[in-house]
């Protein structure tokens, strides 16, 4: 590596760090339920060695009833050990691994192509909007981007030097402990790349076998989880075959059958409209939508979860590069296609069971598109044979990338916080810090969970510094598993979580009530209001004694 190129890589890494760590605790704004869960359970492990349910957390922990894998939990334990229990510490491992993914992308792309492609691919990942936002959220899926890409790198290195095969399969095995999208993707992907490289691998048959056995051995502890409800909870809750979306499919079948019955034999209508056909069509549709330009280049989902609701996941300029890259990979019969094409085609196979465009389930695809786009860029340059033309292309590429990057910057730091507060649980930090400092002034504090399905408790535990021992003390905390296996917390100390705001007459003296805006309408002003960054009201806090007093006064006046 020349001196100059070394510095380019260093600059790219610095840029990646800057884009991922700058204002990490306030961007993304808010702190979502899963982040708070990782944060608090890590804190619990740190203090007691066990999770919030006082169980040993391995290989999963129950959390809200979604049985998260521990891959992100233990790095958070470590991070909280250094930085304490705060937003920054919980997000730190994700951001750090996001930077490592830029390095692994460089290594992998260098192995697949050459150094300049590698540098450009690493740069594209460093500035990639999707990767940046995924790295900034404390969410486990983006960890896979690093573990998978580094494992593929070792796999390719292992083809030359067999000892690296072991590292490769170590990485693949560990990925299974990080996030469930790996369970579906990796077995398919790894067997496909082994199959496509079978001729070269012939040489290291025994080493490959050793590595595979080693990996299986590492996966044994996961088996009970994979085969039970705690492994498939998410699948049951969200797939279109068992989940809520199934009802819509059924209704549509019935409606079409109804229209068909009027003209045609029942047997025929049932052949044409039935759940098997509909499920297949839904799945195929999901699959292709998950690979379509809409999913990556037009606006993300409205709630902005693991993505931006105000912009696409990729830059528009990546699209032509990607297309050129794919065409050239096929036309030139590049060896790299054996890795990159299966990678992209296999990723949506799992995500398509649950729906379309769930960024957290699809981001295991990164950095393959960036590597292809980088390759596409240089393939395009070599196609241009005039030197001046090349210069012009590079110059305009530089301008476009600069504008895109500045646009990302303003979109991310100035625009996105204004619109994403509501979906990112903004306001709980302020709310529960306020409650924690006022809880002794009241007999009870009631929090209405009407507008947020019952996960507020985790924010209270995280921001209100509730010790883990108290949480498992049944005289202090009331909690149980609901029918659908999600957990319900009714009370922590004198803080109660109600399904909706109670009637005034049902409440004892010295009560503080927390509601969302417009849930109740009292003549008395709230004693405190928590606002979203765009000025909308997030929560209203009412001293119910004052509310009753005011009501009495007005009644008397009447």
């Amino acid at each position: 590596m020349t001196f100059f190129k070394k510095y380019i890589l260093l600059a790219i890494i610095m840029l990646a760090i800057f884009l991922r760590f700058w204002k990490l605790d306030s961007m993304p704004i808010g702190f979502n339920d899963d982040e708070a869960a990782f944060g608090y359970d890590a804190y619990s492990v740190l203090k007691t060695g066990r999770d919030e349910w006082a169980k040993v957390a391995f290989p999963t922990f129950e959390s809200f009833g979604d049985w998260k894998l521990v891959g992100y939990l233990y790095p958070t334990v470590l991070s909280e050990l250094f930085f304490g229990k705060n937003v920054f510490a919980v997000r730190f491992p994700s951001a750090l691994i996001g930077v490592l993914a830029v390095i692994s992308t460089y290594l992998l792309a260098k192995k697949l192509f050459d150094q300049k492609t590698a540098l450009f691919a690493a740069f594209l990942l460093a500035i990639n909007p999707w990767h940046i936002i995924a790295s900034r959220n404390a969410f486990e899926s983006d960890i896979l981007i690093f573990t998978v890409s580094i494992s593929v790198y070792f796999f390719l290195k292992g083809i030359e030097e067999k000892k690296y095969l072991l590292y490769s399969f170590l990485g693949f095995a560990l990925s299974f402990y990080v996030y469930r999208s790996a369970w579906f993707f990796l077995p398919l992907f790894v067997s496909t790349i082994i199959f496509l490289h079978r001729n070269i691998l012939q040489k290291h048959k025994t080493d490959l076998l050793k590595a595979l056995i080693f990996a299986f051995f590492l996966l044994v502890p996961l088996l009970p989880t994979v085969l039970t409800f705690s492994g498939q909870s998410r699948f049951f809750q969200e797939s279109f075959i068992y989940g809520v979306a199934n009802q819509g499919i059924k209704n549509e079948i019935n409606e079409k059958r109804g229209a068909c019955f009027e003209h045609s034999k029942a047997f025929f209508c049932k052949m044409a409209y039935n759940k098997y056909l509909s499920n297949i069509t839904t799945y195929v549709n999901n699959y292709f939508e998950n690979l379509s330009s809409q999913t990556y280049f037009t606006k993300g989902p409205a709630n902005g979860y693991q993505s931006f609701s105000n912009r696409g996941l990729f830059y528009d300029f990546e699209l032509p590069l990607l297309l050129v890259g794919i065409v050239m990979l096929i036309v030139k019969k590049e060896k790299a296609a054996k890795i990159l094409i299966p990678w992209i085609l296999l990723v949506p196979l799992g995500a398509s069971f649950t729906g379309v465009g769930n960024p957290g389930r699809l981001n295991i695809m990164l950095p393959a598109p960036q590597i292809i786009a980088a390759y596409g860029f240089f393939a395009m340059l070599t196609l241009l044979n005039k030197r001046r033309l090349k210069g012009a292309v590079i110059f305009s590429a530089a301008i476009i990338i600069t504008i895109s990057l500045v646009r990302l910057w303003t979109d991310m730091f100035y625009f996105y916080p204004k619109i994403s507060g509501k979906y990112q649980r903004y306001g709980y930090q302020e709310l529960f810090k306020f409650i924690a400092s006022h809880k002794n002034d009241y007999n009870q504090i009631i929090i209405s969970r009407k507008n947020d399905n019952a996960k507020q408790y985790i924010h209270y535990m995280f921001f209100g510094d509730i010790p883990p021992e108290k949480f498992s003390d049944s005289s202090f905390t009331t909690r149980y598993r609901g029918e659908d296996k999600w957990q319900v917390v009714e009370k922590i100390g004198n803080v109660h979580f109600y399904p909706a705001a109670p009637n005034l007459e049902d409440v004892e003296q010295k009560t503080l009530l927390v509601t969302e805006e417009h849930e109740v309408s009292y003549a008395q002003e709230p004693i405190h209001v928590v606002k979203y960054p765009n000025g909308d009201t997030a929560f209203e806090l009412y001293d119910l004694d004052k509310v009753r007093e005011k009501l009495k006064v007005t009644d008397d006046q009447l």
Partner: protein, 555 residues
């Protein structure tokens, strides 16, 4: 002998005719405004030689609603109505007929590009293509382009060997310009690309080529005033995101972003990163790719079912793997047909993307290219199977899949679609105006509220009551709205107000037609017209009894 050889092709064409002509008057359910406009203007021309605006033999455009339609489909319909009389069938007939012709043209082109077997497969696929079938059944001009372009390209390729075909090719392309505006953007770009990609072939007959290009351009001269005036661009002005209604959404988005940006950054930077040029480019590129995406072609097409389907995609799902395979093999073999097929596909959405996404009438000039590629893919797949047993199994499976898909499509189109889409396809006007016509002895005036759909009901009235064109021209009261659309006031005793007027403004012995729940009177409607899904489309009120009831209530 020759007949026997082509028996398969004849069977395919017969199938295509059945799929396009069977129950043509009723499917697609309803009869939309553009169809009625073509039908009535054609009728008017056969009767008095003038269109609905009293223009003698309009050329190259006629005004219609103010959208200045091209006359290609008009004169074809004039021939058809003079044979069959004014009816839905007659209006849709030319489109359906050219749909069948396209199947044959596809056969010719695919045979020229590949071989006879692929040509048969391709013509079968286009014969049963849901998109092509529904486009053929609507009286709408865009699907005619598929025929003219396909045959034109066929003649052009033929001309590479025999020069004489060049003039046929030129004639077909010139005609296409007089049919539908999509050709104006598509054809020049497409032909230029083909010229660039086939320079060596063109070099052989430079002179002829130049000659026919000049002749072609001469024949296009009559269009020039149209192209460069409002008449040519009316639709563009009304619908594109640069000048049309969606523009305001884009402007708002820019302003919000700029505002938030300039709180924190220099205004200059904010103007550079958020401005209309970047936004237009982004919108256009996004539209372009959506117009070529899986969703557009394989998912439920459009909620209104216009020129497409509300409950299914415009392609069969089985065409997708064939299409992908076909493309891969073509690229791998670097097949010369790519130089025709790929530009065709890539240029097809160029025009449609200026106005938006999923307008199937603007996209269907892409046909029959996907079918030809899919047919090639299927053929490549089958010939690649070495084992005879395997090949037979594959053929059997594919036959079952295609038969099943075709049956499902037929059920979808004839039984399921009408239920979901009738309300968007102007279903009910025939029943309504027939009913009103039967009441003409008891009532003197008819008021039809324009709220139901944007003021084109008059054409439905003219069409369904077969109003005498001369009578219409001498009794009509109308004006032009600011945006160039026609605003109809009345035709003798038929009145078309913007919305239901108060009963006191309506003379005695009148009937009032409103949309469902548009008005609320003490007495109910004397008649209703329902959509096919049972929802009420129109309500007809006797105005005198409303007045009587109101009077009673006041007392």
């Amino acid at each position: 002998m020759k007949l026997k050889k082509n028996l398969l092709l004849i069977a395919i064409i017969a199938l295509s005719a059945v799929l396009r002509f069977y129950n043509l008057s009723n499917i697609p359910a309803g009869f939309n405004d553009d169809e009625a406009a073509f039908g009535y203007n054609a009728y008017s021309i056969t009767k008095i030689g003038k269109d609905e605006w009293g223009k003698m033999l309009p050329f190259p455009v006629f005004e219609s609603f103010g959208d200045w339609k091209l006359v290609g489909y008009l004169y074809l319909t004039a021939i058809s109505t003079s044979i069959f009389g004014l009816s839905e069938f007659a209006t849709r007939f030319p489109s359906a007929l050219f749909g069948v012709f396209t199947v044959f043209a596809t056969y010719l082109l695919a045979k020229e590009l590949f071989n006879k077997r692929i040509a048969l497969l391709a013509s079968l696929l286009i014969a049963i293509s849901p998109w092509h079938v529904i486009a053929s059944r609507n009286a709408f001009e865009s699907d005619l382009l598929s025929f003219f372009i396909t045959l034109g390209i066929y003649a052009l390729i033929k001309a590479f060997e025999e020069k004489k075909y060049l003039k046929y090719s030129g004639a077909l392309f010139v005609l296409a310009f007089y049919i539908y505006r999509s050709a104006w953007i598509f054809l020049p770009l497409f032909l230029l690309t083909i010229l660039l990609l086939h320079q060596s072939q063109f070099r052989k007959f430079k002179k002829e080529f130049l000659k026919y290009t000049i002749i072609g351009i001469v024949f296009l001269l009559p269009l020039i005033p149209t192209i460069f005036s409002f008449r040519g661009q009316s639709r563009f002005v009304q619908e594109s995101f640069i000048t049309g209604a969606t523009r305001i959404g884009i402007t708002n988005d820019i302003n919000i972003r700029r505002g938030l940006c300039s709180n924190n950054m220099p205004t200059f930077t904010c103007t550079i990163i958020y401005n209309k040029y970047i936004s237009f480019t982004k919108t256009y590129v996004a539209n372009y790719f959506k117009n070529l995406s899986f969703d557009s072609f394989f998912e439920n097409a459009s909620p209104t079912g216009f020129q497409s389907f509300a409950t299914r995609g415009v392609f069969y799902l089985f065409e997708l793997p064939l299409l992908i395979l076909g493309l891969l093999v073509l690229f791998k073999r670097k097949d010369p047909s790519l130089k025709i097929l790929i530009p065709w596909i890539l240029l097809a959405p160029i025009g449609a993307s200026i106005t938006g996404i999923g307008n199937y009438g603007r996209l269907n000039l892409i046909l029959p290219v996907p079918q030809i590629i899919a047919a090639f893919g299927l053929y490549a797949f089958l010939t690649n199977l070495n084992l005879k047993a395997l090949r037979l199994a594959a053929i059997a499976t594919i036959t079952i899949v295609i038969t099943f898909s075709l049956c499902k499509f037929v059920v979808d189109m004839f039984y399921v679609e009408p239920f979901f889409t009738s309300r968007y396809q102007r279903y009910g006007y025939k029943e309504l105006f027939t009913y009103l016509n039967n009441q003409k002895s008891s009532y003197e005036h008819f008021y039809i509220s324009g709220k139901i759909d944007n003021s084109h009901q008059y054409i439905q009235y003219l069409f369904h009551q077969k109003v005498d064109p001369q009578y219409f021209l001498s009794n009509v009261k109308r004006s032009h709205a600011k945006d160039g659309w026609v605003s109809m006031e009345s035709i003798a005793n038929y009145h078309f107000p913007q919305s239901a007027p108060g009963p006191e403004q309506i003379p005695k012995k009148s009937l009032l037609v409103t949309g469902s729940k548009e008005v609320n009177y003490p007495v109910g409607p004397i008649s209703q017209v329902k959509y096919l899904n049972g929802e009420v489309g129109f309500e007809v009120y006797d105005v005198d009894s409303i007045k009587a009831a109101n009077l009673k209530q006041d007392k």
